[in-house]
Amino acid sequence: MRAGQAIAAAFWLAFALGTIYAGRNLGLGSLHDPGSGFMIFWVGVAMAVLSLATLIASARQPAGEALGALWTGLRWRVIPYVTVLLVLYALLLPVLGFPLVTVLLMLLLFKTVEQQNWAVAIGGALASAGAAYLVFGRWLGTQLPSGTIWEMLS
């Protein structure tokens, strides 16, 4: 776990350094009249100190298990798979429209993540897309995307 902790601390340290840089660029102002970057800069400094301390603490830990141990025995492949599906959903939603993309996403989630039979997958996909439409589209009046491709085709 030492490697994992060190990687995480290094990530936040890099984030902190970026924050310090951004804060300085925005302008620190003076103590009489603090500028836009004043708080960002000092929070960045605090974050850098904290993540550096975490990094040092992780270096002092015994080596322990490797980073991969965090995912041993778990279905970790599901996470990137579902993430890609969600990103594709966000990409295709304005193009293909809410009904088609939603049914497709739900069908894939039902059928491929937990391997439901076709009847459950199709029924679940249609029912959940319908329920989401009723709640958000009808009840709350959200303008759900109808799909630019259909507008172009018509």
């Binding site: 836009s36 996470i79 969600l86 989630l109």
Partner: protein, 502 residues
């Protein structure tokens, strides 16, 4: 007499048909998300935040508040019948509640959880009525220095009470503060950290961040391990506790109510911690501590009362100081702001109907919950039987469309997905999301108060230690942050974290 007059005003608002309906929807959904493991009150409240856009401010906030305290009720059902806490505040209820169910006493366990929650919830509302006006009068004397120091204290407590190492929790608070400062500078109007993205001019949305960190990340964590649960498959009977049950539960309920209420007021306190402390307290003062963990009804009554009282107590700092003491209250603050209201000492003067309407609705909500939880227990048991493999795609879809509906922005979907992945990795590496979200909400307010305090004092940092309230807050914050250096206190913090994580 003032209180009676104010309560009459509050009930006249809360008893309006629309507000009653929203209160019912809130407590019903709250109980539902409390019952269902895998979706908590934070995710549910952010999902339903858009619902409040079309309603009056009081109706929307009544509903969101109902979700919060409703989930405290619902969480106990899952804890007792399935041995899985429906939400974090019911973790300790599993210890004795499930044991009672195994011994054929699921009914009294559910009954005492519901009655204890009702009594504690009512106690918290009465406390809120009495304490809030007094605290609001005091809060009028607060200047920017006091507000800034109080927020530092709140963040310190939240970081201290987090599961993982304190350094990591404080790092997360810093990340939250930076994220909260994205967008237009509220003092001079310049764009900050927007990377030329128009969508970031108004800042990063609270809903996509919360839905990502608490909704999507939770689903990811559940998906990678097969979620199995054994439901206690016997008809639940005899929900009314016996005389002996009441005798054993009376004082735990009373102590849990007071303890939970007081801890709920403290920034960073809240339902989870109060339930653990109540359990530890009951076990320590019990004449039969060996019975705890083996089906002691006091082990259900105390913590369940404490978490409900804390849910009520948490409204005090939000409504009187405008400072959310925990993530749930941070979401409620978001709801207030969406409706153009600023919670704080002036809320009950400028919008007495809203303030007292919300307070009165909590009385009504508690009665609704008692009615919902006892006769409808069979329905909640059926809900528990829905397999997670059917539930998770629906929860994901509602997260996606819920986020889209708040802003009609595809960009927010990417924000939610990114924070979902980040939240999942944070769990892996023991970084807590709660300090991040609370700091995110407080970021702008904190910066405003810091800059104002410095401008007013001509750039003198001593203003923060010259003002007594500010000084006390800073001393307390420093004591909390430095306390892990003392071995005994470090051990106690670890103990609390382990209890909570378990």
């Amino acid at each position: 007499m003032d209180i009676l007059h104010n309560m009459a005003l509050g009930f006249s608002v809360a008893l309006q048909a629309t507000n009653l309906l929203y209160c019912f929807i809130g407590v019903f959904i709250g109980t539902l998300v409390g019952v269902l493991p895998g979706i908590g009150p934070v995710a549910a409240m952010s999902l339903l935040l858009p619902v409040t856009f079309n309603s009056s401010p009081e109706a929307g906030i009544i509903m969101l508040a109902g979700i919060y305290y409703g989930s405290m009720y619902g969480g106990s059902t899952t804890a007792i019948l399935v041995n899985i806490p429906g939400e974090a505040a019911s973790v300790v209820t599993t210890l004795d509640g499930y044991k009672m169910a195994q011994q054929g006493r699921a009914g009294p366990a559910l009954g005492i959880a519901a009655f204890g929650s009702f009594i504690a919830g009512t106690f918290a509302v009465i406390g809120l009525m009495i304490v809030a006006p007094a605290l609001a009068r005091l809060a009028v004397k607060f200047g920017p220095a006091e507000y800034f120091s109080l927020m530092i204290l709140g963040l310190s407590i939240v970081a201290y009470l987090s599961h993982g190492p304190l350094l990591k929790a404080l790092t997360m608070a810093c990340v939250g503060l930076v994220l909260g400062l994205v967008g237009l500078d509220s003092i001079n109007g310049s764009a900050r950290l927007t990377f030329n993205q128009l969508e970031l001019i108004d800042g990063v949305g609270l809903v996509p961040i919360v839905m990502g960190l608490f909704g999507v990340a939770e689903i990811f964590s559940n998906l990678e391990r097969k979620l199995t649960r054994e439901i206690f498959d016997t008809r639940v009977r005899g929900l009314l506790p016996s005389k002996q049950d009441w005798k054993e539960s009376g004082w735990p309920i009373a102590r849990g109510s007071v303890l939970g209420f007081l801890l709920g007021i403290l920034p960073g306190g809240g339902a989870v911690i109060s339930s653990f402390i109540s359990y530890a307290l009951e076990k320590r003062i019990s004449k039969t501590p060996e019975a705890f963990g083996k089906g002691a009804i006091a082990g259900v009554a105390g913590p369940e009362s404490a978490n409900n009282a804390a849910a009520g107590g948490g409204f005090i700092p939000l409504m009187t100081l405008g400072i959310p003491p925990n993530v749930v209250m941070a979401l409620l603050l978001g709801a207030f702001i969406v409706h153009g209201l600023q919670p704080g000492p002036l809320l009950m003067v400028q919008n007495p109907n809203i303030f007292w309407g919300i307070v009165a609705s909590m009385y009504i909500g508690n009665i609704m919950l008692l009615i919902l939880n006892l006769p409808l227990i069979g329905l909640w048991v059926q809900v528990l039987k829905i397999p997670y493999k059917i539930l998770f795609p629906m929860i994901l879809l509602f997260c996606l469309i819920g986020v889209y509906s708040t802003s009609s922005s595809i960009f927010d979907l990417y924000v939610m997905i990114s924070f979902g992945v980040l939240g999942y990795l944070m769990r892996k590496f023991e970084y807590e999301p709660a300090p991040l979200v609370l700091a995110f909400v407080l970021g702008q307010i904190m910066e405003n108060n810091l800059r104002k305090a410095l401008i007013i004092s001509n750039g003198e940092f001593s203003t923060f230690i010259e003002r007594p309230i500010s000084l006390v807050c800073l001393i307390l914050a420093a004591a909390i942050l430095l306390s892990p250096l003392l071995p005994k206190l470090r051990a106690r913090r670890k103990e609390l974290a382990v209890e909570e994580a378990n």
